[in-house]
Symmetry: D2
Amino acid sequence: MADKVLRVGMVGYNFMGKAHSNAWRQVNHFFPDLPAKVELHTLCGRTKDATEKHAGIYGWNRTVNDFQELLDNPDIDIIDITSPNNQHAEMTIRACNAGKAVLCEKPLAMNVAEAEAVVAAAKKNKTINMVCHNYRRAPAIAFAKQMIENGDLGDRFFHFRARYAQDWIVDPEFPLVWRLQKSVAGSGSNGDLAAHLIDVAHFLIGGMKEVCGLMETFVKDRPVLAEVKAGLSATAGKKRGKVTVDDAVSFIGRFKNGAVGNIEATRFATGHKNGMEFEINGNKGSIIFNFEDMNRLKYFSVDDPVGKQGFRDILVSEGVHPYWKAWWPPGHIIGYEHTFIHTVADLITNVVEGKNTHPTFVDGLECQKVLDAVDASVKSRTWEKV
Amino acid sequence: MADKVLRVGMVGYNFMGKAHSNAWRQVNHFFPDLPAKVELHTLCGRTKDATEKHAGIYGWNRTVNDFQELLDNPDIDIIDITSPNNQHAEMTIRACNAGKAVLCEKPLAMNVAEAEAVVAAAKKNKTINMVCHNYRRAPAIAFAKQMIENGDLGDRFFHFRARYAQDWIVDPEFPLVWRLQKSVAGSGSNGDLAAHLIDVAHFLIGGMKEVCGLMETFVKDRPVLAEVKAGLSATAGKKRGKVTVDDAVSFIGRFKNGAVGNIEATRFATGHKNGMEFEINGNKGSIIFNFEDMNRLKYFSVDDPVGKQGFRDILVSEGVHPYWKAWWPPGHIIGYEHTFIHTVADLITNVVEGKNTHPTFVDGLECQKVLDAVDASVKSRTWEKV
Amino acid sequence: MADKVLRVGMVGYNFMGKAHSNAWRQVNHFFPDLPAKVELHTLCGRTKDATEKHAGIYGWNRTVNDFQELLDNPDIDIIDITSPNNQHAEMTIRACNAGKAVLCEKPLAMNVAEAEAVVAAAKKNKTINMVCHNYRRAPAIAFAKQMIENGDLGDRFFHFRARYAQDWIVDPEFPLVWRLQKSVAGSGSNGDLAAHLIDVAHFLIGGMKEVCGLMETFVKDRPVLAEVKAGLSATAGKKRGKVTVDDAVSFIGRFKNGAVGNIEATRFATGHKNGMEFEINGNKGSIIFNFEDMNRLKYFSVDDPVGKQGFRDILVSEGVHPYWKAWWPPGHIIGYEHTFIHTVADLITNVVEGKNTHPTFVDGLECQKVLDAVDASVKSRTWEKV
Amino acid sequence: MADKVLRVGMVGYNFMGKAHSNAWRQVNHFFPDLPAKVELHTLCGRTKDATEKHAGIYGWNRTVNDFQELLDNPDIDIIDITSPNNQHAEMTIRACNAGKAVLCEKPLAMNVAEAEAVVAAAKKNKTINMVCHNYRRAPAIAFAKQMIENGDLGDRFFHFRARYAQDWIVDPEFPLVWRLQKSVAGSGSNGDLAAHLIDVAHFLIGGMKEVCGLMETFVKDRPVLAEVKAGLSATAGKKRGKVTVDDAVSFIGRFKNGAVGNIEATRFATGHKNGMEFEINGNKGSIIFNFEDMNRLKYFSVDDPVGKQGFRDILVSEGVHPYWKAWWPPGHIIGYEHTFIHTVADLITNVVEGKNTHPTFVDGLECQKVLDAVDASVKSRTWEKV
């Protein structure tokens, strides 16, 4: 293993903090040839006790409770931002200005204006930067990228259709968590789920030109969280609050390369847990992916002999597949968390080599442009340019 | 078997003529308790030789070459229309006026105005009428209807998403057949494929309020058919003609019951042959259907025990399922053509009992209203009321 | 259509009689180029009323109640035998001796001795003969045969594994029908279900050398049918009778070509309706088939590019596939009954051309040899040569 | 996290060493409530350089090159054995005698005699012991166990059928690795793959009474590994060595509870990478599992309403499922390595609480008894008692 050490300071310790911590902790064990070793140097969180507890669980060596302390510490090379969405842009800009390399969990920002400010800060500071669109590094998606670049789907793309289907808030008594509040989350299914689909589309077949969409909030108010926690949610007199984000978004669009897009994201697809699915149809072939079976890629080729054509069920789990040399023998599958490990593996190389690879903040901005255009089209009830 | 005989006169002998002939021929053999026996009385086609040849193959007892002869024959009880789309409305109106019962292959008409004229003719003549939206009588779809009426999906519907995916014209050298010409076909993927999805949506969860869509013609011109037939299509100087219909359509919409819709139909989904798929998400459950596996219905129920929930793969092939008493032991599956047999079985009962059941011409009109609204929205680039 | 007419006399009108009738009735409508037309001349059954009723439903022109009358009628060209298993051999021999062409529903006989007598009779009389192992003519299986002959699986076969899984008698109160009585049925899961697997194995990769198996009758006695019919089955004093056949059979074996076999058939596979599945692994590829999805063939090829290998899901429903020119556009699937239509289509050609194609009575005998060897091995508790 | 520390010494650093190291390293981060923290104290391997290299990659604090040193170190609480199969028994016995808690990778031994000696040693020393049949702790399999204990499959079991299908040695030029040599590996597909199936069967439905099987070595000799490594394998004069283990094993059997078994394991199932599949049919339901989709469990229940029955596709990834509270939101799947983390999590509790839970060395012995009986039956060509 390399002698060089990169020290990471991370803010946030919830779902994404757990996933990122694991990635930093695991990456050198599975990618021993990386040009640097990672130290989980400092975890930052606002609440002292909780931060210390999570630092202990996740394996961080130190804690701070003020984000500025992370930035001020000259030992820290990389700032990793997993705080709530409404803090991403501001923290990222500060980290750029502090001269750190920066990994920001998606979404990069709450809107295009914020995202542009982040991009400007990174540009000004020549920041090594990455936005954590981790799905790009699911081996099956990374392999799809290779296949597309290899021409396996042809030179014309007709369709990109994608669905992100979850069902965790179908019950109207599910409480009003922060993800359902616009002030903190920015948006609902659009920024949380459709963003993943848009980013994968950008990654695989390029940018969108224009969109037209609808949004719906099926359950307009929900039990306020504090009361739920207090066990009061089932009582007649319980307090309810307004849901201020979209439960579902659905839009059609056109890509720069001539493909048409159909994208839907919803938290009301009863029965689906993490059904992030997409399909691309080209003139020479098609691919289908579903994150719930993330080790598989379905591939149809018109170059297969007539009569013997059919979607191949590729178990993307062999040494020839992206990132798989790090793991297990074929068919011994990996899971969700591995996409983060792959992400930080590439970021480490970037930091050492002083380069930026996808998805950069610019990619985060491009994604945000589509999200904002969808939002605008919902309000204008007509097509909006991206 | 019943003594009563119903005599059928059918116009058209291509794909749909073959499927309808089979239905009339088979129906009494599998539904022996129907209140009438069918006679395949007369086949009508413009070309004498071809009509006689097909009558022989399909089992029709007589032929005529003038549609008026079918109408004038007092022995004929039911007129079945499988001619090209642009003749449906006119022929159907004439058949209604002639006092016949009428089965019209979908689409009922080329546009709403035509469809309204058909509905008016049927109303005026008290016609026993049916439009052949045969997919309603795939046992799995008919069973889905029962389940929905039984409340299995709950009392709120969130999503209807559907895809009709074919790939038979991905090759730009595929010739300019009649289905690619607006003057004959009326429309492309919209009227041919999306119509099936819309009709199933109407059948299962009711009508749409408004839509907004896009259409695309990926291949703008194609070899003219006569030259292709003459073996000239591969020559440099070959003549090409303009494709005047949509290769793909994609639209979003809202249903009267509050559900949001996302519907796509395409002939450019490389790898898909007859991928007519839909999913409905309700507050108590979901169903998924794909015509390529038409004997199966996937069903998710939130009433299953926690931890043991999952989409059930129901092989709709048991005596308790709609129309299945007519067929084979469980798991001995049936196919595409059987949907037509079920359709005419119900129509025969209607004719004898003097009643109309779905899908009537009114259902055909309702479908056409959505198709026209999608078309209008493509032109206006905004939402259109249905 | 051809002018020549072949007249069929069929005995039996239950499940198989229904499927065979349909085949004879439909074959010319879908295979108009056959060298003869079929007439459903005479249906034979022991009970006058029931025979007449079924002749009416199935489309037979005449009825008789004595099998000898069928044989004595010089107008009848083909005898089709769908009577209970214990009558197959005797009737088939008589039909051969009467100089008719013969189609015998599987099993050809109750044991090897009987089957050998049938083969001898056919040989002596130069009978055009076929045993109705209809699964050979599921398009996907017929296509698998072509692929294997084409070398798509290579030149070495490692494994043939197959499972025929049904569940219709899991309930111990299901009555003692004839299929559960050795005197009539000959055997249970072995002759009824495993026979299909063995025949397909023979068809696709050749004969077996030796086998070793087990059988089990999970439910030893069941309500006697008469009482069940009289509504007495739920009473405490109900009469039960002994199940004299196997509920399940499972055996291992070796093929002449070096492959090893693993075959199981059961009526106690809760949840499976008609799960006739098999897989063949060769040195260049593999195929997987399941009758519940009979229009699909899964195919893996080691010649696909490394990293892009995977089981292809071939929807065997295109004009290039066996028998498919007769049917519908790609993806418009067919079902169980079509395998019988394909069978009689080929038999008609055989009769006109005076030739025998598979599966002949010799194939029926070869299948019986394996069934008997399995039976012997169960008794001897050791391996038995086929 | 607990203050108590358990120090682990592990021998071996190849495939299993990598998986076990990860388990020890990760367990406290995801199961923070365990009663002890783990220290990866010492890695033992014969080759100094390689051991040190792997210790660095895997996160071990120290290395030794003599197994006795591990045993002699009083700081070490748990000995983890991942050396080649032929060393398992001897090392395990020594570790027991040294008073350590012991985790031994499967197989526990090369044969029953060895396994009995191991069990005796553990008994004599009151060893906290576990054999690493990690598949028991795939959440879907652990959940299947709960379901079976809950009666979800009923109170009678008819069938256990299982297949372990790999294809990594189909190519006859694949070299003669240690797994193909009996002296080191003990056996081939039987001990390596079928052992997993047998253990899962024991876990879920109990022990076997008798078996009868076949084995086959399809490729009798292969390039000797040294020559392959030297790049000589493609030359005409290359040296080949004899394969001394089974490429495939297939056997039938009977369980103590009356179920019949059908089990097959092969390295020649072209197209399958890690297809460890099994199905259990009970009188009230069935389950199906495939390790390549290890987060899913298919479940059929006869208690579902008639007509709405079907195999449910349960995505075993929710907080209510075994071990899942440790991981991610529903549908964010986990993989192969997690089964080891769950194994050591339970072992840690055992060590602290001084108890043994499954699978103990006795379970390893029971598994070995079946393996040996299969082996004996292959030689005797008859049934053998377990």
